[in-house]
């Protein structure tokens, strides 16, 4: 006796379930050996909640990406528009560096090196980095 025949019959039951009219399928709900309305509503609620949760996660992720990009744009714009001279930037850097609790050690080393040998571009770059780190505040007057 073969089990393949039993599996074939089950495949027929599945194919017929897929092919049957919606009205026929709906008329069986709640009968013995068929799904209950509770089953159907439980799945509908599950889909509603799961899709809503997925959309919320996507929204939050996109919102975070948007604000990161916006912040980056604002810093770049501030740097591009600033009217400060190199010596003013250098003064800003000196002031920022005096707050040793906030300034990372690596930056202090880089500052000392650039302070000794650095050119104008190095100072501009360091000023930009400190603006990005929030160690130098830019007022509207600077733009």
């Amino acid at each position: 006796m073969n089990i393949n025949f039993i599996k074939q019959i089950n495949n027929y039951v599945i194919e017929s379930t897929i092919e049957a009219d919606d009205d026929e399928i709906l008329s069986t709900i709640g009968h013995t050996n068929y799904p209950t309305w509770e089953d159907i509503h439980s799945v509908q609620d599950f889909i509603l909640t799961a899709v809503k949760c997925k959309r919320q996660q996507r929204l939050e992720k996109n919102r975070a990406l948007y604000f990161d990009a916006k912040k980056e744009r604002e810093h770049s714009r501030a740097f591009a528009k600033t009217t400060k001279t190199v010596s003013e930037m250098f003064s800003d850097i000196i002031v920022a560096m005096q707050d040793k609790d906030k300034v990372p050690k690596g930056l202090l080393v880089a500052f000392r090196k650039q302070g000794q040998d650095g050119n104008d571009d190095d100072i501009k770059e360091l000023w930009h980095t400190l603006v990005e780190l929030g160690l130098i505040e830019i007022s509207d007057d600077d733009q």
């Binding site: 599945i14 194919e15 017929s16 049957a20 799904p35 089953d39 799945v43 509908q44």
Partner: protein, 204 residues
């Protein structure tokens, strides 16, 4: 991902939201036929919840030419197989408490270890019982089509595992008659055995 061939995240969500009550009923029924309860110990709607979660997590890309019913059926089928495998491992593996070590640090031949490494002495009996169950179910299907000569011929040839080309000759069917008889059988077995035949309970 190739967005021409596969659904995007947003399209997947829309597809799931478009499932009708009839579609959900179909899927729950299909999982019952696939053995959600006797193979995986899960209800049909639990399997469907699981399948929906997997689809939403984008674990496998969903090709656009596969319908929502087919895709969720495949996903649910995998869930049932995986759960069945997990359950079978739990049943045959001895627990750490059952494993006893000898003085020379070798695993002792306790009943648990022997059970794990050798076929059950009852396997012959189970095989005979399975054969009896299969015979019983085949007889039920035969009886269902006792009055329908075309369907009976079709069924007998399917039991003998004949291919369509042979069935056409032996039962003297045209292609159209073959399709009609097959459709008649499909609909009748669905109405008589809505949860299918319990092959998951049979030791193969």
């Amino acid at each position: 991902m190739d967005t021409d061939s596969y659904y995007s995240e947003i399209e997947v969500e829309e597809n799931l939201e478009s499932l009708t009550q009839a579609d959900i009923a179909r899927l729950v029924q299909i999982f019952a036929v696939l053995g959600s309860s006797n193979r995986a110990g899960m209800s049909g709607h639990d399997v469907l919840h699981n399948a929906i979660s997997q689809v939403l997590a984008n674990e496998r890309p969903w090709p656009k030419d596969v319908s929502v019913i087919s895709y969720l059926t495949q996903s649910g089928r995998s869930t049932i197989s995986n759960e069945e495998e997990k359950r079978s491992k739990l049943l045959i593996a001895p627990t750490i408490d059952e494993v006893v070590f000898n003085e020379d640090n070798k695993v002792a031949h306790t009943s648990a270890v022997v059970r794990f490494s050798n076929p059950s002495p009852q396997s012959g009996l189970e095989s005979a019982q399975s054969s009896s169950i299969i015979k019983e179910w085949i007889e039920k299907v035969r009886q269902l089509f006792g009055e329908d000569k075309e369907a009976s011929c079709f069924i007998e040839q399917k039991i003998a595992e004949q291919k369509k080309s042979k069935i056409l000759i032996i039962c003297e069917f045209s292609d159209q008659i073959y399709r009609n008889v097959e459709k008649r059988i499909k609909d009748k077995v669905r109405k008589r055995f809505p949860n299918g035949l319990p092959w998951g309970e049979i030791e193969s």
